[in-house]
């Protein structure tokens, strides 16, 4: 029974630890991507084609939403024509916290050392700071954001790109878009943690981007931040319907990675649950043996007036005691190990950058682990308990005394 108890404690503890880690890294990833690309991106304008309008008007079974969701039935116009008007409309949505206009374009960054392909993002700094964590992503350049704000020719460059080009804050380099070549000075370096972004992205002022990319009006997309990030999919659908622009939530944008995290979390849960399951089997064996060992005691209790329910209750109580002690022990073990793991130093870069293990202390992990243990332990206790309750006292005593 002690081994089963230890198994329950370790099962619950490790369940909590693995869930805390996988969801910790997932939360950190979400924080990173929200702090970089925002909760929703409003991009290409669309118009319904004649087919769509006819379908919406003549077929009651086809909802307007269903038809609008069919990209092939729409005519798309690249970018946002009137960002100011769209921003004003977006701010009418209750969940929208801020909107930033972004003009994006491909450029060649030409330092004295080498050329690299890059993506330039024309932004209004103060707007962008409201929809991203750009302010806290600056890694080199003292007073750099103010330097950038005050320098029309300033730029914020991804740290990985700066390393490729071997430039540092204060250095200048040329950005070339088509035939247009302009010189800019690096105001600061930023690091989002997402290497794919950090090795290509450059922020410059929106007015400069218009000149460089030769787009005097409009925007590539609007970056939107929300008060409640979890409502992004619903808000994106509404925005798309109302504003007639493509709207993509962060959940859709990062679906691949989020699915990978989800799969990892489920896989870890299933793997660790086997410890609880095996402990449950061990407990089942122990209780089944106990029923066999205690048949005489069961018979004498029945002869005293204890009912079948009383007898099964004894074994269920045994299971419940193991469950309670195992669960509380597992919680303490899980909490302690999770805290210990969060202090382990690692150096991870790629989809995010972190120097320590990321953990997430969530009540749901403790609840799920407990439910798992309840199901396994009580099932393991219930079967021997029912067997004990079915024993006939007369048969047992007769077998013993003759």
């Amino acid at each position: 029974m002690l081994m089963s108890l230890a198994g329950i404690i370790f099962g619950i503890g490790f369940f909590i630890v693995t869930q805390a880690q996988t969801s910790g890294f997932e939360q950190f990833f979400i924080k990173t991507i929200l702090g970089t690309d925002g909760a929703i991106r409003i991009e290409d304008k669309f118009q319904d084609t004649m087919f769509v309008m006819r379908a919406a008007g003549h077929n009651a079974d086809v909802s307007k939403f269903d038809v609008a969701g069919d990209r092939s039935a729409r005519k798309y116009i690249e970018g946002v024509e009137d960002p100011k008007l769209l921003t004003k409309a977006l701010l009418q949505f209750k969940n929208v916290a801020a909107v930033s206009t972004v003009l994006e374009g491909a450029v060649i960054a030409d330092s004295s050392f080498k050329n690299e392909s890059a993506k330039v993002y024309g932004i209004v700094l103060d707007d962008q700071l409201l929809v991203s964590d750009l302010g806290s992503q600056i890694v080199r350049g003292s007073g750099s954001l103010d330097n950038f704000r005050d320098a029309p020719q300033g730029m914020l460059m991804g740290k990985a790109l700066a390393e490729l080009l071997q430039v540092a804050p204060g250095d200048s380099l040329i950005l070339q878009a088509g035939t247009e070549r302009r010189r800019y000075r690096v105001s600061a370096l930023f690091e989002t943690g997402v290497r794919d972004i950090d090795k290509v992205r450059i922020y410059i002022h929106l007015t400069e981007a218009r000149s460089l990319l030769k787009k005097s009006s409009g925007a590539s997309f609007l970056q939107v931040s929300l008060f409640d990030k979890d409502r992004a999919p619903e808000d994106a659908v509404q925005m798309s319907e109302v504003l007639r622009h493509g709207a993509q939530s962060w959940q859709v944008r990062e679906k691949t990675w989020l699915n990978a995290f989800q799969a990892l979390q489920i896989s870890a849960a299933l793997t660790v649950s086997t410890i609880i399951l095996i402990s449950g089997l061990g407990m089942f064996n122990t209780l089944a043996m106990l029923v066999i060992e205690k048949t005489k005691e069961i018979a004498i209790l029945r002869s005293m007036g204890y009912t079948r329910v009383d007898i099964s209750r004894i074994f269920l109580w045994l299971g419940a005691i193991v469950l309670v002690v195992g669960t509380v022990g597992g919680w303490i073990l899980g909490l302690t190990v999770t805290y210990g793991v969060s202090k382990i130093k690692i150096n991870l870069t790629g989809i995010f950058t972190t120097e320590t293990f990321q953990v997430n202390y969530a009540l749901s992990h403790y609840v799920v682990a407990t439910i798992c243990a309840i199901v396994v332990v009580m099932t393991a206790a219930l079967i021997p308990a029912r067997r004990a309750a079915r024993l006939e006292p007369g048969d047992i005593i007769r077998g013993t005394s003759q």
Binding site: I300, G305, Y306, R308, D310, I397, R398, T400, S401, Q402
Partner: protein, 230 residues
Amino acid sequence: MEKNTQKPALRCENLHRYLGEGEGRVHVLRGVSFEAQPGHVTAIVGPSGCGKSTLLYLLGLLDQPNDGSIWIGDELMSNSSDIDRTAARGEHIGFVFQFHFLMQEFSALDNVMMPMRKLGRLTPEQMEERARGLLTDVGLGDKTHRLATQLSGGEQQRVAVARALANQPTIILADEPTGNLDVKNSTLVFDLLTKLAKENGQAVVIVTHNPEIANRCDETKPMRDGLFVS
């Protein structure tokens, strides 16, 4: 022998019981009728396999007859539900077996309190007081807190007697209560059982092989091949 004219505490009529399955099926009891009067000690004697223990378990509602009737007081119990029979056992019947069947992990006091805890008529303090009184009656007043494993065979059987008397049952059924004891302890346990039962007006039915014990009972009923013989 003086005939008791009181209403019987326990009565059965025409009991039949088969044991085993198929070709191994044996007709153990072949229409047994019996009465146990309050304050009266009856011994059932007979060779092994004659059906005396089977009869005792039927009378104790631990088993059900294939045919026939059993009354506890005025209540017909032979066809009642498992719950009713269990409740009747707790309230009306005390058992003493050949082996004491004490709970080894518990003290003598706890063992005696166990039937009272289930019946729930007394408060915990009253239960403890009664259990102490019963253990004193059986000569174990100074060993109430000893575990069952720390008592001798005779002492364990005396605890079993005290336990059987715990709920003040109207019927005491004893299956070879002295079968596992030496002569001295056999006499001690039998005397205690009959003395306490008579004091409380309880009907006692003892199944025994021991002729000395049987001779000291108020009545002896010999059994052979599933029937009482005169």
